[in-house]
């Protein structure tokens, strides 16, 4: 797509901080989330899940449940499409989704769905689910990434391996990535200090507070309606249609308000089950997951095991770097190891670099995207080694990063040369921030880290309809996960030259717009924002045409200024500015409704870098860490609504703090998840955190009309490493495994053995 000239200042709306349009509904309890709607005659669905990590499903006896009062339908795998077949690689992904939604021959992890029941109340459905008897033949299991690659590991599924995987590897290794450039050997030989180390991270869950919920109706005529909390309802439509053998357009999906997603609601879990139950019972079916099932059966991020080797000269120049990244993503291919590999060394301009990634299957739930999938773990490993090098060579961590920083025109670790990027600007802003020069108190340590994420564009369709009174109905297709309706309305108002309040932005259902890719990849403000601007410009063109017709001049003799059509120059004649509302008031009689459109796949999502500074204190007697100060510096390209940008920065940092210190999936020897609840899956609570300072750097993205870069994901990339560096400094010992829980810190300190 050809890009127009970049506008980065002189804005009336952009950069202001208006109230969000969904604010009132959300503070009064009126906003409707996934579980908040009902339908007449509605049934409740409950899913029966495997208690085993790996087991053959011998028999499912549903007779007792079916005989119970109020039970209207039971479904198993037989109630889903048999047209979807397994295959290696992305071609097999729909089968993987089906297999995850409802197990076939085998249960592949603790929590894997094996059957479902619908009944007249939630309690009746729960009672019936308990009455479904599943006979299992338990199989050997493996849940650890390194153990799953060992020769004696049980094979989770034959035939899932892509051709790219080198020969001789265990069948659980299903995908492989290798990239880089330069002569590693020569690079390491040039170094004054080479550090080689191994790091591990545990799987963490996105931890959204709203469990997955949906309400589906599907008739025998193949027509369906679905309400659900999702980051992408067109994807839900596509997947449900495939899994149930429907025509896609016969299923209309409406996205509810979404109570957090962070990547975890890009996947489909319960929606096809509700529709299958509905088809069988011929009634609407609502399914609301309970929290334990959210942890057991929806996507956590990958766990990793990583080997890093970096060489540095005494002056801080990195001479060579290599990394080996093993990522476990559950019983299906898809762990984001290629992103782990490609993001690992992205902040650095390296003469010699190599990154290798392995996607490994284990008996765990199918991983789902989590905020910059794969990147935070890589940053943890790489930035920890950079920190060690700086410490041992007596170098300032920010100066050293600046010395090696990727800039426009340098070659990225994954190949291409960088376009305009803002890493250096974030490092300089971090260095200048008062936090960086504040003296540390006794017992505190300070850590710094950079982080990188690609960001994404994706299929986008927007429709902007003008009302007779001159107000605007803006329909976008990307569920609002962070305040995007406000940002979209601001961009539309900016282009149209009308007040922000005159634009009502709604998230359209799948019947209303063309395909919109999921709200992921930090794409919404970038892509839907670009689409909104283009749709507004399309509407402006049509408005100008109406003015031209009224004035009897050429269309290109009219321009748009401050919400009015005006003659473009003295030759166009002397006409009073014609405000938008005056044109729309007569539009029925001057050519009909005026609607601006944009449908395309924007290909200019600018990448984003961040630098974080953290101070931590460690109680050396108990191993407990306190985060005492936190500063986020990140390149937003252009902040449309700065308050919401700050919110993304702060939220990413807080999730990173949880990941670094306490959050982890804990599996027992039996392969069962031991902490499937917020009691023992410990996300940060209000009293755990300090205020989080958010500094917005703006290095415009040439791929967006206003320079916007996505901001949602990069904020979770630096925290793990920044905190590990701070904790290691405070404790006086290097922490190489996440989470840095108190027992791990005490063990590292050698306080007990």
């Amino acid at each position: 797509m050809a890009l127009d000239s970049l506008k980065t200042d002189g804005f009336k709306q952009i950069g202001t901080r208006p109230n969000r349009p969904d604010g009132l509904d959300k503070v009064t309890g009126r906003a409707l989330y996934g579980a908040d709607v009902t339908a007449p005659g509605m049934l409740w669905g409950v899913i029966v899940r495997s208690p085993h990590a790996h087991a053959k499903i011998v028999k499912i006896d549903t007779s007792k449940a079916e005989a119970m009062d109020g039970v209207k339908a039971v479904v198993t795998r037989a109630d889903f499409s048999d047209a979807i077949q397994p295959a290696a690689g992305p071609r097999g992904e729909m089968w993987n989704v089906l297999e995850n939604v409802m197990a076939g021959d085998k249960a592949l992890y603790d929590g894997h769905a094996v059957a479902a029941v619908a009944a007249t109340s939630q309690l009746a459905a729960r009672d019936a689910a308990k009455a479904i008897v599943v006979e299992y033949e338990v199989l050997p299991h493996v849940t650890d990434v390194d153990k799953a690659m060992a020769a004696d590991a049980p094979v989770i599924r034959e035939g899932a391996t892509e051709k790219s995987v080198p020969e001789g590897m265990h069948p659980n290794v299903v995908r492989y990535h290798e990239s880089g450039h330069g002569d590693l050997e020569a690079g390491f030989a040039e170094a004054d200090l080479v550090i080689e180390d191994t790091f591990k991270t545990e799987a963490t869950h996105q931890g959204y507070i709203e469990p997955h919920a949906c309400l589906g109706t599907l008739g025998g005529d193949g027509k369906g309606e679905l309400w659900c909390c999702t980051q992408g309802h067109w994807n839900v439509q596509k997947v449900c249609a495939a899994l149930l053998g429907l025509e896609t357009s016969q299923l209309r999906v409406t996205a509810s308000e979404i109570g957090g997603g962070f990547g975890g609601k890009t996947a489909v879990f319960i929606e096809p089950v509700a529709l299958a139950l509905s088809r069988k019972a011929n009634k609407p079916v609502k399914i609301v997951m309970n929290r334990a099932d959210v942890f057991r059966a929806t996507g956590p991020t990958a766990s990793t095991s990583m080997d890093i080797k970096i060489g540095m000269k005494k002056d801080g120049t990195i001479t060579a770097a290599s990394g080996l990244f093993r990522c476990q993503g559950g019983a299906f291919p898809g762990a984001p190891m290629e992103f782990t590999a490609m993001c690992a060394f992205a902040p650095y301009n390296l003469q010699a670099v190599k990154q290798t990634g392995f996607d490994v299957m284990t008996n765990r739930p199918k991983q789902a995207a989590y905020r910059a999938p794969g990147s935070p773990m890589a940053a943890f490993a790489v930035e920890s080694v950079i920190d060690q090098l700086c410490n041992q060579l007596g170098l300032d961590p920010i100066d050293t990063r600046l010395k090696n920083a990727s800039r426009e025109g340098t070659q990225a670790s994954f190949g291409p040369k960088w376009d305009r990027i803002g890493l250096v600007e974030t490092l300089e802003a971090a260095k200048a921030h008062p936090h960086y020069s504040e003296p540390l108190k006794e017992g505190q340590g300070r850590g710094v880290s950079c982080g990188f994420w690609f960001n994404h564009g994706g299929e986008t369709a927007v429709s902007l309809a003008l009302s007779e009174d001159g107000t605007v109905q803006l329909a976008v297709g990307t569920p609002d996960i962070g305040g995007s309706r406000a940002s979209m309305a601001m961009m539309a108002a900016e282009e149209l030259g009308i007040p922000y309040e005159n634009v009502r932005c709604t998230i359209a259902d799948t019947a209303t717009l063309g395909y919109n890719e999921i709200s992921h990849g930090s794409r919404v403000t970038y892509a839907s924002g670009l689409a909104t601007i283009k749709a507004a410009r399309d509407a402006v063109k049509k408005l100008c045409a109406r003015a031209a017709a009224k004035w009897g001049i050429e269309e290109d003799a009219v321009k748009w200024e401050d919400g009015c059509a005006v003659p473009s120059g003295p030759n166009a004649g002397d006409h009073e500015p014609l405000p938008l509302a005056k044109i729309t008031a007569k539009m029925g009689a001057t050519g009909g409704p005026i609607v601006g459109h944009f449908e395309a796949t924007p290909e200019g999502a600018g990448v984003s870098f961040a630098t974080h500074i953290v101070d931590a204190e460690v109680d050396k007697e108990t191993g407990k860490t306190t985060i005492s100060r936190y500063t986020v510096v990140q390149d937003a390209g252009k902040a449309i609504h700065p308050t919401y940008v700050e919110g993304q920065f702060q939220g990413g940092a807080a999730q990173g703090i949880g990941w670094a210190l306490n959050e982890e999936y804990i599996y027992g020897e039996d392969g069962r998840l031991q902490n499937a609840g917020f009691l023992d899956y410990r996300i940060p609570v209000a009293s755990d955190l300090p205020m989080i300072d958010a500094v917005i750097v703006e290095v415009p993205n040439p791929g967006h009309p206003y320079g916007v870069r996505g901001v949602g994901e990069t904020s979770i990339c630096p925290p793990l490493a920044a905190i590990a560096n701070a904790v290691s400094a405070a404790a006086g010992v290097r922490l190489k495994q996440l989470p840095m829980s108190p027992p791990r810190i005490l063990a590292a300190l050698g306080t007990h053995d």
Binding site: G23, A35, D36, P211, G260, N290, Y644, A654, I683
Partner: protein, 159 residues
């Protein structure tokens, strides 16, 4: 299983309902009375999204049975604003973007209002500990804490 008839007050109005003794106040509010402001994030008292007050006491409605509601005075998020205007906390939460997805917001507002009624001048630390049972995954709590503190300051000034 036989259902129990319960009469209670919710947001000032007398309400009665039939419920299974296993149903919680949260189940009753949401599924029997159609009051979906209180959210279920966990069902086990760990997230606070279902916070309500019962006779002025802050509780998780998922940790109280519907049958226990008999004769009580329950306030939910739907009861915070008057017909005429929002509560200052609600207004401030919108202004400060102290919410992103908003799923934790009803519980946090109920909890924060209860705090300010007891302690009109809380320290940052007191706000953080009072709200420790209200999980928020979006905001990092920064803007929430600021909104509560600043509302408290405004309300002190106004009174």
């Amino acid at each position: 299983m036989s259902k129990v008839h319960v009469t209670t007050h919710i947001n000032g109005d007398e309400v009665d309902f039939l419920c299974d003794p296993r149903e919680t106040v949260l189940d009753v509010l949401r599924d029997r009375l159609g009051m979906t402001g209180a959210k279920e994030g966990c069902g086990t008292g760990d997230c606070g999204a279902c916070s309500v007050t019962v006779d002025g006491r802050l509780v998780c409605s998922c940790l109280m049975l519907g049958v226990e509601a008999a004769g009580k005075e329950i306030t939910t998020v739907e009861g915070i604003a008057t017909e005429a205007e929002l509560h200052p906390l609600q207004q401030k939460f919108i202004e400060y973007a102290a919410l992103q997805c908003g799923i934790c917001t009803p519980g946090i507002l109920v909890a924060a209002k209860n705090l300010l009624e007891r302690n009109p001048d809380p320290t940052e630390s007191e706000v953080r500990y009072w709200l420790a049972g209200n999980l928020c995954r979006c905001t990092g709590y920064d803007k929430i804490i600021r909104a509560v503190m600043d509302t408290a300051a405004d309300m002190r000034e106004a009174s």
